[in-house]
Symmetry: C2
Subunit: 347 residues, 2 copies
């Protein structure tokens, strides 16, 4: 392996001069710099990043901890974050938690050990104590989920608005028996979305019926199972809303397998819009999220935190230190006004 000593020997200067030349230090003669750069290129020199880190400071690594990158939402976010970080000269370490606090801890530990510059995380429901302690040594921001025990900026969507939009849409169409499948209620996304759903019902003098609601950890089969159980009941709900990106596909597959007519017998609102949702039946009405924008803002937010740490008092514009994005409703053919005959039929 080529080191600066090798370059120094070739050029005939001291290693320290090589270091300064490569760092473009002003007190090095231009001729020397040129010769050093020439020799470095010639020898194929690549700096030894770990050695640099010996003198303190952080590496150019940024951690990205998500539950599952197969989920469209997170893969899109990973793309935005990775692009944003690469532009700023950082490399992204992708850590998959599978919603396990143990894995989360493992990844955070690895990042602290590698002296990462920071971490963007989608916290698990109950992060380990050790995780919280380790996070204090590492600039970090929360993505999508906001955890009370983590005291860090949050970049996400207006969770309450997402389900409020969906619920109001269904209520406006006359639905009163609305089923709800959402994520783990110990997560901010799970609880806030469900509470907003309940409030929207309450505004119409209704209450969420427990037998029509399921809250899951998002295991592989959860959404399909929940859909089948809820729709097997009598009376069957007239509408179903999904409150998580990972829940939508399986639920739609299950509804399809049950051969229930949509929207005639059942109205459906999906979550996290994509082109494919336009293909299902007459298209699935769904809650759209500006995923790329949220993730981009999140990356900028973390990068802004670095600058903040280095020098507090300069006047360059700073990215927002927190941000909440508004979801929007994409209306398609899976929702329809509740027909009077419908109620009779299912009753």
């Amino acid at each position: 392996m080529i080191t600066i000593k090798d370059i120094a020997r070739v050029v005939g200067v001291a290693p320290s001069t090589v270091a300064r030349a490569l760092a473009d230090h002003p007190h090095v003669h231009e001729d020397t710099k040129a010769r050093v750069r020439e020799a470095a290129a010639q020898l194929g020199y690549v700096a030894h990043s770990p050695a640099r880190l010996m003198r303190g400071g952080t590496s150019s690594l940024i951690g990205l901890l998500v539950p599952d990158v197969r989920n469209d939402f997170y893969s899109t976010a990973a793309q935005a974050i990775s692009e944003g970080c690469a532009t700023a000269g950082f490399q992204v370490v992708l850590g998959l938690t599978s919603d396990s606090a143990a894995r989360e801890l493992g990844h955070v530990h690895g990042l602290v050990s590698a002296r990462a510059a920071g971490v963007i995380l989608v916290p698990t429901a109950r992060p380990a104590k050790a995780t919280l302690v380790l996070l204090e040594r590492l600039p970090h921001v929360q993505f999508i989920r906001r955890n009370r025990s983590i005291h860090a900026p949050w970049f996400g969507i207006d969770d309450a608005a997402s389900t409020r939009l969906a619920a109001q849409h269904l209520l406006g169409l006359g639905h009163r028996q609305i089923a709800y499948i959402g994520g783990d209620r110990r997560l901010s996304t799970g609880s806030e979305r469900f509470e907003a759903f309940e409030k929207a019902l309450a505004a119409h003098g209704l209450r969420a019926q427990p037998e029509y609601c399921a809250h899951g950890p998002g295991g592989v089969a959860f959404s399909a199972t929940a859909t089948r159980q809820i729709l097997a009941q009598t009376p069957r709900p007239t509408a179903l809303m999904l409150a998580g990106s990972h829940l939508t596909v399986d639920a739609l597959e299950a509804v399809r397998a049950l051969r229930i007519a949509v929207p005639d017998e059942l109205s459906i609102v999906g979550f996290n819009d994509s082109a494919a949702l336009g293909w299902w039946g007459a298209g699935v009405t769904s809650v759209g999220l500006p995923v790329f924008d949220i993730a981009g803002a999140c990356a900028s937010g973390l990068l802004g935190k670095f600058r903040q740490q280095r020098n507090a008092g300069d006047d360059i514009p700073r990215p927002p230190s927190e941000a909440m994005f508004a979801p929007f409703l994409v209306e398609r053919g899976s929702t329809a006004r509740l027909a009077p005959r419908h109620t009779r039929k299912s009753a």
Copy 2:
């Protein structure tokens, strides 16, 4: 920051003893080990990985270089690879190339600089010379695409079989005017898939018609544009096959916008099967790929390479150093026997 010296001071031993105790070295007294571990936990000690790397060796980082992680294919692969690497104690650095040789070089340089353990890459069409030189310093394997200038094991699918399956299916249904939209022909995936398509046609005494074929770099709008152009011609082809995961969705959207009846007026075969392809119209017949398995094998292959480097002559079972997986055809409703009236209609 807590170092090994701090622990040494607390316990009352030398730093080297602490190092040995934490590494569970056999020549350290059990009592000493216990006291050291106790103190380390107490102080919240986290090893300084960069310092370890000073004495040579590689870090626990593995690079994963893909063009675009929003693509279902690559996000699934990233999941499999990341899980496999995490199990073996490695962390994955996700690098997005956007099919740019410059970005590819940047990522490889970063990995070499960080003394990464290895890299799994989906090579760009023409990697830079510098990239090839750098790769020699880093164990690496090729994923999906196989590049002649990179002398490293390859893990991918039987590209020829993928389009052969699709073409034979369409030919068997009586189609003779088959349109083809594929990826960049400078890539192994692009060229091999197309050549197999041509051969399949040749076996029926047919030739691929240039005006029905498009080969693109896979830019955002490419697939949709190509679809519109090909289907605007007279006579219009009676079948269309897509030969890339990233091409399928846009092409299907374009066909839908053109209001062409599928499969009555046009048969379609998609690429890289997913649940959503079952939703489009009567379902899209497509070439399925065992993505998770390929990616898993690829990760194992790279990890096996590490073992191989460390000690050549042990008799533990080794994972395959190369692997090619067979694609399979998933038949759905987007393909149908060519009706005689059909030929008249489009002529």
